[in-house]
């Protein structure tokens, strides 16, 4: 039996077994496939969508009540903080006024500085004039010229034939201290000029500074103040040395006078003894 024959026999047997029922089943399947079914469009909500919608509404309500309200309150508090800073802590007018004051004061400071720069030299003779020029120069370079010009005006230490050694020592020490004080005066003048320039610079920065950076400028000015105080102390120490030397000289004069009196007394005694 051929293969084709066997297939034909199988189909015949199937037709006998199922017959019209097979046709009916196939027809139903075709109808089910071909007939269009309803689709859920925009306005047609599934029960599933309704559940989702309800869930979403619940979440939305939750967000509105639990999250949005506190957020709104936070925003209000932040706004109040901003308003407080703008109107109470950092009002623009107050900052503008403070900057304006800095500008106004700078004018006054510069005027005072110009007053201090007025010439005060008063010597009339050439040699004292040269010394005075060096002393009022405000220039540290001029300190090197002080010794020669000082000696030109006040003279040097006398020779050992003209005065006893204690007096020569005293004169030399006094000259040294006087010259040191004069040099210190030049240095202090120069430092004061530097401080004035620094103050002017900081003042200029204040006029364009933000309120937040003002404490930095304040710290800079305070550091300069500390430095200035140190320089002032240094000048005070020099002044005290000058006065101490002056006092020591007065004391030395008394001692020398006592010694001279003693010598004179001895000499007088000898003379009187000889005469006797």
């Amino acid at each position: 039996m051929s293969k084709r024959t066997r297939v034909n026999r199988f189909l015949k047997l199937c037709w006998r077994a199922f017959g019209g029922r097979l046709v009916l089943v196939l027809t139903l399947i075709g109808v089910l496939v071909l007939i269009p079914t309803g689709a859920n469009g925009q306005f047609g909500l599934d029960p599933c969508c309704a559940i989702i919608s309800a869930g979403l509404q619940s979440i939305s309500g939750l967000l509105k009540n639990v999250v949005a309200r506190p957020l709104s309150q936070i925003q209000q508090i932040e706004q109040q903080g901003v308003n407080f800073e703008q109107q109470i802590v950092y009002p623009a007018q107050a900052i503008t006024n403070a900057r304006g004051l800095a500008g106004h004061l700078q004018g006054q400071f510069r005027q005072m500085t110009r007053i201090y720069q007025l010439p005060t030299g008063s010597a009339t003779l050439p040699t004292p004039q040269r010394l005075e020029q060096a002393l009022l120069s405000h220039s540290p370079q001029a300190a090197g010229q002080v010794s020669a010009r000082y000696t030109a005006v006040y003279g040097g230490v006398m020779s050992d034939q003209d005065a006893p050694q204690p007096i020569r020592d005293m004169v030399d020490a006094t000259d040294a201290e006087a010259q040191a004080a004069l040099k210190k005066a030049i240095a202090i003048d120069a430092l004061a000029d530097v401080e004035l320039a620094a103050a002017d610079q900081i003042n200029l920065q204040i006029q364009s500074a933000a309120p937040g950076s003002a404490p930095i400028l304040e710290a800079q000015a305070a550091a300069w103040n500390v430095r200035a105080n140190a320089y002032t102390q240094s000048a005070m120490a020099e002044l005290m040395r000058v006065r101490s030397i002056d006092l020591a000289n007065s004391s030395a004069h008394m001692k020398l006078s006592a010694t001279s009196n003693s010598i004179l007394r001895d000499a007088t005694d000898r003379m009187l003894g000889r005469t006797k």
Partner: protein, 105 residues
């Protein structure tokens, strides 16, 4: 003598300048105080910085005064010292004259 006079006059001029500057500085202090009484807390650091700057200026002016006083005191010391030198020189001259006189005799 001339340099003594110069230093004395110079110091007198410095005191006049200082008087004027100190009056202005008092005005500056008043201005800062007045401003601070009506300012906002946020602007106060600017006024504090301004006061620090004024303090620095004041220190510098004080140093100028101190320098003038140093010059004056040093000049006085030098003057007294010069008198000692002058005295020694006078003694030498006197001694030389005495020798000449005694030599002649």
């Amino acid at each position: 003598m001339d340099v003594d006079d110069a230093m004395a006059i110079g110091t007198l001029k410095a005191t006049m300048i200082s008087d004027q500057a100190s009056e202005q500085m008092l005005g500056v202090a008043d201005s800062i105080e007045l401003q601070s009484s009506g300012t906002a807390p946020g602007a106060a650091p600017m006024l504090t910085a301004q006061a620090q700057v004024a303090n620095l200026q004041n220190q510098a002016f004080l140093q100028h005064m101190l320098a003038a006083e140093l010059r004056q005191e040093a000049t006085r010391l030098a003057h007294d010292n010069a008198l000692v030198k002058e005295s020694a020189a006078s003694n030498r001259i006197l001694r030389d004259h005495m020798r000449q006189i005694l030599g002649r005799q």
